[in-house]
Homo-oligomer: 436 residues x 2
C-alpha cells in the first residue's frame, strides 16, 4: 500500500516529472518537484536494515540510526538538530528491516545546508567508546520502554519470530536485549564503513525544488564523497515452506481487552509473480482496509462483536512478507467467536471471490489515497525511498496505479485461495491474565 | 544423559586410566583402554556442527560429512570403505548441532591403518564440481526421504524452529531444502579449509589399545598434518527469554495415532549453573526415563491412557538446550486428556518435589547404565567425544557419576519449578487428518 505515487497527477499539474539520476560515486538521486508550497523534504535512504545485520548483532542497524545524530569531525552533536529547529524545520529518522532513512522538511533555501549536514555525517562521524556506550544505554532504555513494558509488543515480537523460522525478518528491528547490550564500538565502526557509503544510499527530494538545482547541490555535497567498496547482492536466507499451524499466546495482567492476529507468509512486491502483490494489496483493502471493508462491516457494524477488525499487507519488502488480519472483541463477545467470524470472511473470499463493484471501489480508494498523499511530501518521499531501497525502481512507483487498475477479481480470489490457508498460518492471542 | 563415563569402574578393572594429551599441532587425543576383547573404536570428532553454519548455508556441515567419503589425493572414493569391510570392521559418521564425527570399530592391528585413512581425508579431499553435485543429489534425496515423507519429522522441524527463535539450533541439521539445493564447491572448500584441521579435532580411541601406542601412531599420522589457523571462540546468538506459550499443529492423513510433545528451554551442561544440568538429567529420569518413571507408571500402567509417555533432557550441548515430554494416547483415549495428565505430573514434581527413594533409585539406574555402557565402546567414545566437542573436558566426564550422586531432591524440585513453566513452553501436536 505504501508502494504508490502521484506521478500522473503531478505531471498534470505541470510540476514536472520525477527525475532520477546517479552521481558519479554511485549515489542515486530522485527528485519529485511540487511547487505548490515553499517546502521541501530531503531524505537519505541507506539500503541497510535490521535484516542485514550479522548474526548475534541484532539492533546494530537501529543503533546506528541513533549514532548518526552524534558529533562529526565538522559539527558538534547537536548542531544539525539546532540548525533544523532554527529555521522552523522538521527532522526525523527511522530504521526498518530493509532500510534506514533520515529526513528533514525545511524551506527550499535550506536544502543545501541539509545536504551539507547529511553528507558530512555519512562519513565523518566520530565514534568513541564513550559515544557508543552512552547511546547504547539509550537504545536499551528504548527497548525496555517500548517492548518490555508493553504486552502487545512482547507478543508481536514472538509471533513474528514464530512466523519467520529462517528469514531474518524474525529478528526485531530494535534487536534482542541480550545482543544489544553487547554492541560495541568495533561493531559500529564496521557497520558504518560497510554501509554508510554513497553507493549504498538513495537521496529523495520532494517538494519545491527543481531537478537541475538538486543535482548541482548534490554534486557539490554528496558528490564529494568517495565511492565505497561494492557491496554484495542482498541475498538473505529465505523461508522454507510452512507446513504447520502455529499459535502463540500471552496472558498478562496489563491487558484490558483480548485480541488476535493471524499472519500468513506471502510474496512482497519484490518477490511476487506479476500482479500477485497488487492483488494482495487490493485483497487487504477489500477484506479489512477501512470502514467499508468486509471485516469492518460484518464484525463491527453488522454483528457488533468487534471494536476493531482489519487486514494489512506489508508489500514493500525485499524478501517474502506477511498478510495479516487482526481483531478485538466488543463487550461480552468472545475472542474465539470473533476469530471464527473473521476467518469465515477470509474463507468466503478465497471460495467466492470479490464482486467487481467492491474491486472497483477498492481501486478508486487506492488511487484517491495516492492523490491525497500529494499533500504529504514525506509520504511521497517514502513511497520512492522505500521502493528504491527494496529492489524496485522509479518506474515501479510511477506505474503502480496502472498496475492496480488492471487487477481482476479472479486475481484477488486467486491470491486469497493460494496464500490465506489457515493450516499454514500463525496466530497470536493476547489475553487478560484471567481469561485463557 | 549422554554425559557419562565408566572411568571409575574401568580403573577398578585395571584397564588403565583415561589418557588425554595434545599433539603438537593442537589435536586432542583421548584414550580409554579396555582390553577385555580385541576390538578398538577409533573416532575423530570435529568441533563443527550445523549450528556453526554461515547464514543461508544450512546443511553444509552434514553435506561435508558425506563429502568426507569421497576420493582424496591418496585414495579412491571407496578405498577406505573397502579396507574397513575387508577386515570385518564397522564404519559410521554423523553430524549434529555442535559436532561432526567419524568412527571405525576394528581389530587393534588395523588402528594405524584407520588413522592413516582418517588423517588423509582431514586435508587431502579432492572437491570437484562433479563430486559436489553428485553428493548434493544424495543429501537432497536423504532430506526428501527422511523428512518430507514423514509427518513426525516435518512437525518436529517446525516445533524446534518455533522453540528457538534466535539460537541456531532452530535450523535442522540436514538443512532447509532451498538452501541445500544451492550448496556448491566454493561453500564446501571454505568449510573444509576452516574447520577440518587438527586443532579443531578430537581423536577418541576406546578399547584394546594403550595410550603410548595410540600416541605414537597418532603422531605418525595426524601429527604430520599442519596446524590450521586459530578459530574464533564458538560464540553464537543466544536465545531471548521466552514470554509466550507456543503451539505448532500438523494434521496429516499419513498419521495413524496422534501425539504431543512439549519443549522447554533449559540450560545445557555447558551453560548451566553448578548442579542444574545434573538435576535436569535426574528429573528426566524420574519423570519419564523408562518403565519405572512417573509418566509411564501413571499414564501407561495406572490410567492406561497412553501407549507411550516419556521425558528427555538433551544435556550435552554447547548452548542452551531443551527438556521435553512426549506422549501418545492408547485406544479411545483423547490426546487432550493424556496431555493434561502428563502436565499434572510435571506440575506435581515442580510443586511437591521427588521422594528420596525415587531419587536414589534414579541415581542407581544412571550409574548402572554407565557401567553397562562399558560393553559398548562406541557409547563410551561418544560420551567423551560429545563432551569434548561441546566445551567440556575429560574430567567432566570422569567425575559425572560423583556429581550425579550429590544432587538433592530439593535441587530436582528447583529445576522443575524454575524451568518447566507451561506458559513459557512450546508444544507440537500431530493429528490424523480427520482429528483436530
Amino acid at each position: 500500500m505504501v508502494l504508490a505515487t502521484t506521478a500522473t497527477a503531478a505531471a498534470a499539474k505541470d510540476d514536472g516529472k520525477v527525475a532520477d539520476f546517479l552521481l558519479d560515486n554511485g549515489m542515486e538521486v530522485v527528485v519529485i518537484p511540487d511547487h505548490r508550497a515553499p517546502v521541501v523534504t530531503h531524505m537519505v535512504w541507506y539500503k541497510i536494515g535490521s535484516a542485514d545485520e550479522p548474526p548475534g548483532k541484532s539492533g546494530i542497524a537501529h543503533f546506528f540510526e541513533h549514532l548518526m545524530f552524534k558529533a562529526t569531525s565538522n559539527h558538534a552533536a547537536d548542531e544539525f538538530d539546532r540548525a533544523v529547529a532554527n529555521i522552523g524545520g522538521y527532522q526525523n529518522a527511522f530504521t526498518s528491516y530493509d532500510y534506514t532513512a533520515f529526513n528533514e522538511t525545511v524551506a527550499p533555501l535550506a536544502l543545501e545546508q541539509m545536504m551539507g549536514f547529511e553528507a558530512d555525517r555519512m562519513r565523518n562521524l566520530i565514534l568513541t567508546d564513550d559515544v557508543v556506550k552512552t547511546e547504547r544505554d539509550v537504545i536499551l532504555e528504548e527497548r525496555r520502554r517500548s517492548i518490555d513494558t508493553n504486552p502487545h509488543a512482547v507478543l508481536d515480537e514472538e509471533v513474528v519470530a514464530t512466523l519467520w523460522q529462517n528469514q531474518p525478518y524474525r529478528i526485531p528491528v530494535l534487536g534482542w536485549m541480550q545482543e544489544m547490550e553487547k554492541l560495541n564500538r568495533a561493531d559500529a565502526e564496521a557497520f558504518y564503513d560497510n554501509y554508510y557509503r554513497p553507493n549504498n544510499a538513495v537521496l529523495v527530494v520532494a517538494g519545491d525544488a527543481e531537478p537541475e538545482t538538486v543535482k548541482a547541490l548534490a554534486e557539490n555535497t554528496y558528490g564529494k564523497i568517495a565511492r565505497g567498496p561494492d557491496l554484495p547482492p542482498r541475498i538473505r536466507p529465505v523461508e522454507p515452506e510452512q507446513n504447520t499451524k502455529r499459535v502463540v499466546t500471552l496472558s498478562d495482567a496489563r491487558v484490558a481487552v483480548p485480541s488476535f492476529s493471524t499472519y500468513w507468509v506471502v510474496p512482497s512486491y519484490r518477490t511476487a509473480e506479476p500482479g500477485e502483490a497488487e492483488a494482495l494489496d487490493l485483497l487487504a483493502e477489500i477484506l479489512g482496509g477501512g470502514n467499508r471493508s468486509r471485516l469492518y462491516q460484518e464484525l463491527v457494524v453488522k454483528q457488533g462483536i468487534a471494536t476493531e477488525a482489519n487486514a494489512w499487507f506489508r508489500g514493500t519488502m525485499l524478501d517474502a512478507t506477511y498478510f495479516t488480519i487482526r481483531g478485538s472483541p466488543r463487550g461480552d463477545a468472545k475472542l474465539v467467536d470473533l476469530e471464527a467470524a473473521a476467518d469465515a470472511e477470509v474463507a468466503r473470499i478465497a471460495r467466492d471471490g470479490v464482486t467487481s463493484d467492491e474491486l472497483e471501489k477498492a481501486k478508486d480508494r487506492f488511487v484517491r489515497s495516492m492523490i491525497f498523499a500529494r499533500d504529504k511530501q514525506d509520504h511521497i518521499a517514502n513511497m520512492f525511498g522505500s521502493t528504491l531501497a527494496t529492489g524496485g525502481n522509479v518506474q515501479d512507483v510511477v506505474e503502480w496505479p496502472d498496475r492496480i487498475r488492471k487487477i481482476t477479481a479472479d486475481q484477488v480470489k486467486a491470491v486469497a485461495a493460494r496464500y490465506l490457508v489457515f493450516d499454514h498460518s500463525t496466530t497470536g492471542y493476547l489475553f487478560p491474565e484471567t481469561e485463557n
